[in-house]
């Protein structure tokens, strides 16, 4: 990156380290932290939306819909999330390719599953075989986001389901007495009031989500874990200008510290949000706030 870095072997320790930490690969490493933040930024609202849909389905009076919602919550929570990650990435990929195959090549006669192969016609490949590298990366990332949203949607559904039941029954009865339709009372009374009950569960979920982000590595995305393994491994002088021993321990220590700082920061922010939401609420927390102010 810097002009003075052309001959690393001749540099002093500190200068060498500065040059080493600004190689092109290290810049990709730093950029991959952006990938993690992007994943969180996209997944959190998507999971919340899915969770809302799941909670509404589980509460539904229609038996089939209620089973669907409850089954979704129970199944995803009963099985290790990492198994879902590994499963969905292949399953979604094959599902997309299969749908495109049916759509694009109606007169393809060969079977799709041939022994241990999954063969769709070439134009149905997702992404296309001749697509540029970034399309592949974006496609892989999109699959990962969808998988994360699906798994954490179930956890969010569980939290929101509980929060909807925690809203005092009298509130809903009053809404009925005023002649609101179920739809109206749901939208005007239940949803605005449920958040204060949902927030502790949701903030807990956010912490779990942060701590699940390194699993991106298992989904084939070049994330921080990938780069930490890649950069930390022993480097011999033949292949790099910056030979060093096995430094993976230090790279992972850095990731550990990064996550600790991130969760600490989240904790502080979420505490503030909670303090703001409880203000004036008829809950234990709200009571304590009033007493502290008096």
């Amino acid at each position: 990156m810097f002009a003075s870095c052309t001959d690393p072997a001749a540099l002093g320790d500190l200068h060498w380290l500065v040059c080493y930490l600004t190689t092109a690969k290290h810049l990709s490493f730093y950029a991959s932290f952006g990938t993690v933040l992007l994943l969180l930024a996209v997944t959190a609202p998507a999971a919340l939306a899915l969770g809302f849909a799941g909670a509404v389905a589980a509460r539904s009076r229609v038996l089939l819909l209620s089973w669907l919602g409850k089954g979704y919550i129970a199944l995803v929570r009963g099985v290790p999330d990492i198994a879902f990650f590994l499963f969905f990435v292949i399953a979604l990929d094959q599902g997309v390719e299969y749908l495109r195959h049916v759509w694009l090549c109606p007169d393809w006669s060969e079977p799709i599953r041939q022994g241990s192969d999954f063969r769709v016609c070439p134009p149905a490949k997702a992404p296309l075989g001749n697509a540029p590298q970034w399309v592949h990366e974006v496609y892989g990332f999109a699959l990962a986001v969808f998988t994360f949203a699906l798994v954490f949607g179930a956890f969010a559904a569980n939290v929101l389901f509980g929060a909807m039941r925690a809203v005092p029954r009298a509130q809903m009865e009053t809404a009925e007495a005023y002649g609101m339709t179920p739809r109206q009372s749901f939208r005007r009374i239940l949803v605005p009031q449920m958040w204060v009950y949902a927030l502790p569960g949701l903030s807990n979920l956010w912490m779990v989500l942060i701590k699940a982000t390194p699993l991106l590595f298992l989904l084939g995305v070049e994330d921080i874990v990938y780069w930490a393994r890649e950069l930390g491994g022993t480097k011999t002088p033949q292949f790099t200008d910056y030979p060093h021993g096995d430094w993976r321990m230090w790279y992972f220590l850095f990731l550990l510290v990064f996550y600790l700082a991130f969760t600490r920061l989240s904790e502080i922010v979420l505490d503030r949000v909670m303090a703001r939401l409880t203000k004036g609420q008829a809950t234990l927390g709200g009571d304590a706030q009033r007493k502290a102010a008096a």
């Binding site: 129970a74 199944l75 942060i210 390194p214 992972f252 600790l260 600490r264």
Partner: protein, 269 residues
């Protein structure tokens, strides 16, 4: 080859007993069920041992966190913060590479570079930290009157803790602790994907499920099998913890109509 033969060959494959080579082609359903089931031995090993050993460390940490002296309280708080604040996946990676470099200078650390001991140690610390936080919360909610009554009866502090505080803490913490146990068993699937090598292809259930999915390129068989095993394991944990919960609460009057919902753990609700 009949399914019985497959069972003999692969039933204990995950701990190195039986056929040396994994199946290579023409995968049968029986092979997948048996081999993935064999992998569950590891999940149960990691989960059960770390849970039992972690329980004691967790109690100690929870007590240390309530201590008045900062010399005792601060280290416990730091320990809990580090293990609860960072992803288990990163902890596994860091621990593995840490043991790997320690091994260079001290051969004492050699066993810890294997999943059998190294991953178990990480899981032990991890579950101890999470359980300690649960226990600490429960410890703070032990009714004050109970403790005062024990003092009034002339219980020594040690006896008071053993007879009054500790059982009440367990009783209050148990539902949350059940959840922690379930998640711990789920977390054991991470071990062989996080640096710790599966020597001679001796891996856990997810390792074999992943093996079959890679070889057959068909995720729709091995992963549902894995899911089935884990749901069974989860139900077993719930049953076991439920029995302990009933034992802990046996002195309390049971409200007959509340009982049914009370027995369904928070995890299924």
């Amino acid at each position: 080859m009949s399914c019985y033969d497959t069972f003999i060959d692969y039933g204990l494959r995950s701990i190195g007993i039986g056929e040396r080579l994994l199946p290579r082609g023409d995968f049968t359903l029986c092979q997948q069920v048996v081999l993935i089931g064999s992998g569950m031995i590891w999940n149960i090993y990691f989960g059960a041992l770390s849970l039992v050993s972690g329980f004691f460390l967790a109690t100690a940490l929870a007590l240390a966190k309530t201590a008045q002296t900062p010399w005792v309280r601060k280290p416990a708080e730091a320990f809990i913060f580090v293990f609860r604040g960072s992803p288990l996946f990163i902890q596994f990676f860091f621990a593995y590479f840490l043991f790997l470099s320690l091994k260079q200078s001290y051969p004492f650390f050699t066993p810890l570079t294997s999943a059998t001991w190294g991953a178990l140690l990480v899981l032990f610390f991890n579950t101890a930290a999470y359980s300690a936080e649960i226990f600490h919360g429960a410890l703070l909610s032990v009714p004050k009157g109970d403790i005062e009554a024990a003092s009034a009866y002339g219980f020594s502090p040690r006896l008071r803790f053993r007879r009054i505080i500790w059982p009440t803490m367990l009783r209050l913490a148990w539902p949350a602790y059940t959840n922690e146990a379930i998640f711990l068993f789920h977390a054991t699937t991470l071990v062989f994907f996080s640096g710790f090598p599966a020597t001679a292809q001796k891996g856990d259930a997810l390792y074999y499920a992943n093996y079959f999915a890679d070889k057959t390129f068909n995720p729709f068989i091995p992963y549902p099998i894995l899911a089935g095993y884990f749901i069974l394991l989860t139900l077993a944990v719930i049953g076991l913890f439920g029995a302990v919960n009933r034992h802990l609460n046996r002195h309390l009057p049971t409200a007959p109509q509340r009982r049914r919902t009370g027995m369904v753990p928070g995890f299924l609700r």
